[in-house]
């Protein structure tokens, strides 16, 4: 079933839980959450999240759409899968968070310079373009996506680290790493986009 994306403006939107259930990958399992908190307790970077996964899920049920979609929880997830392994009710926490991040970007909740979003986009650009991630390109693209001044500031601050890495052979100089069949990769990605657009 398709439900239109949630309308902005209301604080408590009862249709949000239903929308998450129908449109977010793993959202149909979200109702099984019994609020034990094993996910939030297991999360290695939970302290850096606005809300732990447990609370975020309860907020989804309560229809707190604005707070959920603008939270940093889904962006900070490192996909370590500890929560998924430990969840006693089999809720795929990581999938839900990843898809929530994608959807919040899609609906414009991660506007302007958004560290997590911009980093993710830089990472994805490198992966999609070269089939590999190149540390230099990802970092530079990420830094300068935050603004020209900010980009210079961060680049200069990290210069010493970068040179040190080059010196010890941890970062190479020259063309970026690339996969061999980049044409194939592009075709795969194009097909994936086409499938996604069907829904």
């Amino acid at each position: 079933m398709t439900t239109p994306a949630p309308a902005a403006g209301k604080t408590y939107d009862l249709s949000f839980a239903r929308w998450v259930r129908d449109n977010i990958n793993g959202g149909d399992k979200l109702n099984l959450c019994m609020q034990c908190g094993a996910c939030s307790g297991s999360c290695p970077i939970g302290v850096q999240m606005d809300y732990g996964p447990r609370k975020l899920f309860m907020m989804i049920r309560a229809g707190m759409k604005e707070e959920v979609l603008s939270a940093n929880t889904q962006w900070n997830c490192t996909s370590c899968y500890r929560c998924v392994v430990r969840c006693p009710r089999g809720v795929p926490v990581t999938y839900i968070l990843q898809d929530l991040a994608a959807k919040s970007a899609e609906f414009g909740y991660a506007k302007g310079p958004h560290e997590n979003k911009n980093f993710a986009q830089s990472f994805w650009w490198s992966a999609a373009t070269f089939g590999r991630t190149d540390e230099r390109l990802v970092t530079m693209r990420y830094f300068f996506s935050l603004g020209l001044g900010e980009g210079f500031k961060r680049a200069m601050a990290n210069l010493k680290v970068a040179l040190g890495m080059v010196k010890t052979g941890r970062m190479h100089i020259g063309l970026p790493h690339m996969t061999k069949g980049r044409k194939g990769l592009k075709a795969i990605l194009a097909k994936a986009r086409e499938i996604e657009a069907r829904h």
Binding site: M1, Y12, L14, S15, A17, R18, R21, D28, N31, L32, Q35, R54, K55, M58, M59, R61, A62, G63, M64
Partner: protein, 760 residues
């Protein structure tokens, strides 16, 4: 019985001979009580010893015996010989296992045990039961809901006739009002169709069951095995003879008009769970206000339940019922959204999978107390315990209030009593709160010490209209449910032979009610069969004794008729007590109440315990050996002491323990005898009293406490310290505490000067 031929049988086994000189005990029997027939065995319970005892009985050498061995709580079957009264002296648990071996005090305790048993035996007779003989084997079932129907069917299947009296014009009760049921069989997952019609058909088809609809009970008199019941049916009264009664009057939903704080009445779209069931029965639910389909629905749990201003208790079924209704909604319409706002989800039984099934189907559970319901804006606000904030659930189509169960402890349609104060007293605490005339221990017009219930007095008149001295009602507990012990003796009411089952006893669902009905019917069968042979029911199952009243001494003070916890004693026209034997539970509360000690049982009477108290040897005041009398309730306190002995705990050797049927049977005469004999301290040890009582006879320990509060003055007049007499609550689980309690009291008594009455 012709000539009394007592015998003393002593056991040396289980460590008894290692702790005491059994030969000396034999001499106690021979020399002090002149019982020639004294036998000592290495193991009295061995087949050879039992066979030789049997032979002594068969030869006519012995026709009554003292068995000095283990506790009376064990080996009762082995030492049972037809027509022979057997008295047990507890040499094992309470002497050999709980006292140091071969010490002077241990030997004295053992000898006193034999003395008490011999004195007890002298006043014990083989009981002659008060059997009714011919009894009615029909069971009256009041109420034709799932409980009543199951009860009738179970009675019929057990070979008894059943008579179902239903107030309304149709069978099925509330259970017939909903289309679906919550699961009660594996895999306990999904809702399924209500099968009540099949049960009704089965009951109707059974030849042993008679059904009267549009009928009520107008009057009930008699006793188990022989109740005379007048039934109003079709404008006339019919009299029926029944053996026992199962009261399955069920419940009614809590009056939602009192729930205005939860929005009831503000909008037609705020309904109760019962009203929602009616909507579901018609098909897909629609908004009552405009007929639009229900897309978003919220269930508010604990609507009025667990609320001190409404129903103080949990109604137990509403959570499962709301899950069931929510599942019906979301399964019926994939677009519908169901929210359940709960404080704690309480689904007794095997409902975890059911709960998960609801989650899998998208029912959303919100944990928090509903703070307000706005019927106009259709918003449920609740304080979410998991988010820590107030959350409004807005834009709902329908709000369902899960209201609780109110027991039908009375017939709401019947006219109320003329004297509401008296009616209330009889319904809540049928022990007359005011002493009718001044008798021992009570001044005229003095009230009982336990608090009266001000809330939850149900409206209407009695269900059975009992023609009992203690009023027409089946007494209720504070919450309005029938008075029984939920755990220890659930079906027993305070009216023997009348068993409550189903939600009139406590909130329960259909499956639980059916199970409850089965249990109650078995109890009803026991009661009527017990009446036939003169045997007691719970807790003294099979006891053939009964209270005999010596009318020549009776002063018609009415304390026995007033204080009987089970309303067993009525009064005749002259005010003399009349015992309805089959109603009696044999607790002896009447015996303890009688100011002239003229109520006796064949094997338990005031003189007997008096003699037991006097049989103990009291050392003089210079011996520094105080004596403490413990009157221990044999249901809980005595087993607790036994178990302490089994655990090899030791306690003061100065304690002399006399088991009593119930502390309610303790007469103040015994206390006065003990003080005059020279006992230094007296302890009454029994069950917990009060609202959460554990007394097997409901009011026994409360009455004992009450009576004991009156002896303070007596002690003062004898110039004795008030601390010498104490009351201790001891449950069967308190065995580890028993030695500590006894030792503490022994120390307290040891610190007091000796009783000056010693030696007089």
């Amino acid at each position: 019985m012709s000539e009394k031929k007592p015998g003393v049988y002593l056991c040396k086994g289980c460590g008894i001979a290692d702790a005491v000189d059994v030969g000396a005990l034999e001499k106690v029997g021979k020399n002090e009580f002149r019982i020639g027939h004294c036998v000592v065995s290495d193991a009295l319970c061995s087949p050879e010893s039992v066979a030789s005892m049997q032979k002594d009985v068969a030869d006519g050498a012995v026709n009554r015996m003292v068995v000095g061995a283990c506790s009376p709580r064990v080996m009762a079957e082995k030492f049972r010989f037809d027509g022979v009264p057997v008295v047990r002296a507890n040499l094992r648990e309470q002497v050999a296992w709980s006292q140091p071996a071969h010490e002077e005090d241990t030997e004295m305790l053992a000898a006193d045990s034999i003395r008490m048993a011999a004195a007890q035996l002298a006043k014990t007779q083989q009981p002659t039961p008060a059997a009714l003989g011919e009894v009615s084997r029909t069971i009256l079932v009041v109420g034709g809901g799932v409980t009543g129907l199951t009860a009738a069917l179970e009675a019929a299947q057990s070979g008894y006739d059943a008579l179902v009296v239903e107030k309304s014009d149709a069978l099925g009760g509330w259970s017939s009002k909903w289309p679906m049921r919550a699961p009660h069989a594996p895999p306990y997952r999904d809702i399924y169709g209500n099968d009540i019609e099949a049960l009704i058909a089965k009951v109707k088809a059974n030849g042993r069951v008679r059904i009267l609809t549009n009928a009520t009970v107008a009057k009930t008199s008699g006793q188990p095995g022989a109740f005379d019941v007048v039934i109003s049916h079709g404008g006339q009264d019919v009299t029926e003879k029944v053996g026992a009664i199962v009261v399955a009057t069920g419940w009614r939903p809590y009056d939602a008009t009192k729930l205005t704080h939860l929005g009831y009445g503000a909008s037609p779209d705020v309904v109760t769970g019962i009203e929602f069931e009616a909507m579901l029965a018609k098909g897909a639910p629609v908004k009552p206000s405009n007929g639009a389909p229900v897309k978003t629905i919220a269930f508010v749990q604990c609507a009025g339940s667990r609320d001190p201003n409404h129903l103080p208790y949990c109604s137990s079924v509403c959570c499962t019922a709301s899950i069931k209704q929510a599942l019906q909604v979301v399964k019926g319409d994939q677009d519908a959204m169901a929210y359940i706002v709960y404080e704690e989800l309480r689904t007794p039984g095997t409902a975890e999978e059911f709960y998960r099934e609801a989650q899998r189907n998208g029912v959303v559970f919100m944990k928090g107390k509903a703070t307000s319901v706005d019927g106009k804006a259709m918003t449920v606000s609740y304080s979410d315990e998991l988010l820590g904030q107030e959350v409004p659930l807005g834009g709902l189509d329908l709000i369902v209030l899960a209201t609780g169960m109110v027991p039908n402890s009375t017939n709401v349609d019947a006219p109320a009593a003329a004297d509401p104060e008296k009616d209330k007293a009889q319904l809540t605490d049928d022990i007359n709160p005011v002493a009718p005339i001044a008798v021992a221990g009570y001044a005229k017009g003095e009230g009982t010490p336990w608090p009266h219930i001000d809330k939850g007095i149900p409206p209407g008149g009695p269900i059975l209209n009992l023609q009992y001295r203690q009023g027409p009602h089946i007494p209720i507990l504070a919450d309005g449910f029938s008075d029984s012990h939920y755990i220890c003796f659930p079906y027993e009411t305070r009216r023997t032979g009348i068993y409550t089952a189903g939600p009139v006893r406590r909130p329960m669902d259909m499956a639980e009610s059916a199970e409850d009905a089965t249990g109650a019917v078995l109890k009803a069968i026991q009661a009527l069969e017990g009446g036939a042979v003169g045997a007691a029911v719970h807790p003294r199952v099979g006891d053939l004794t009964y209270p005999k009243i010596g009318h020549e001494k009776c002063t018609k003070c009415r304390r026995c008729t007033v204080e009987c916890p089970f309303g067993a004693i009525d009064e005749d026209e002259q005010g003399r007590p009349v015992v309805n034997f089959a109603r009696c539970r044999r607790c002896g509360t009447c015996m303890g109440a009688c100011p002239v000690q003229t109520i006796t049982f064949d094997n338990y009477n005031p003189q007997m315990v008096n003699d037991m108290i006097e049989a103990n040897e009291i050392p003089d005041e210079f011996s520094e050996k105080p004596r403490i009398l413990v009157l221990a309730c044999e249901n809980d306190a005595y087993p607790a002491i036994d178990m302490a002995g089994i655990a090899r705990s030791h306690w003061s050797p100065f304690v002399r323990i006399v088991p009593v049927r119930c502390l309610g049977s303790v007469t103040l005469q015994w206390v006065s005898t003990a003080l005059q004999k020279g006992y230094d301290g007296i302890m009454l040890m029994g069950c917990k009293s009060g609202d959460d009582y554990q007394c097997h006879f409901v009011k026994g320990s409360a009455l004992a406490k009450e009576r004991l509060s009156k002896v303070g003055e007596t002690l003062k007049s004898l110039a004795l310290e008030q601390e010498r007499i104490t009351f201790e609550e001891m449950s069967i689980a308190d065995s580890c505490r028993a030695p500590t309690v006894l030792d503490a009291f022994a120390k307290l008594i040891g610190d007091l000067p000796p009783n000056p009455m010693k030696g007089f």
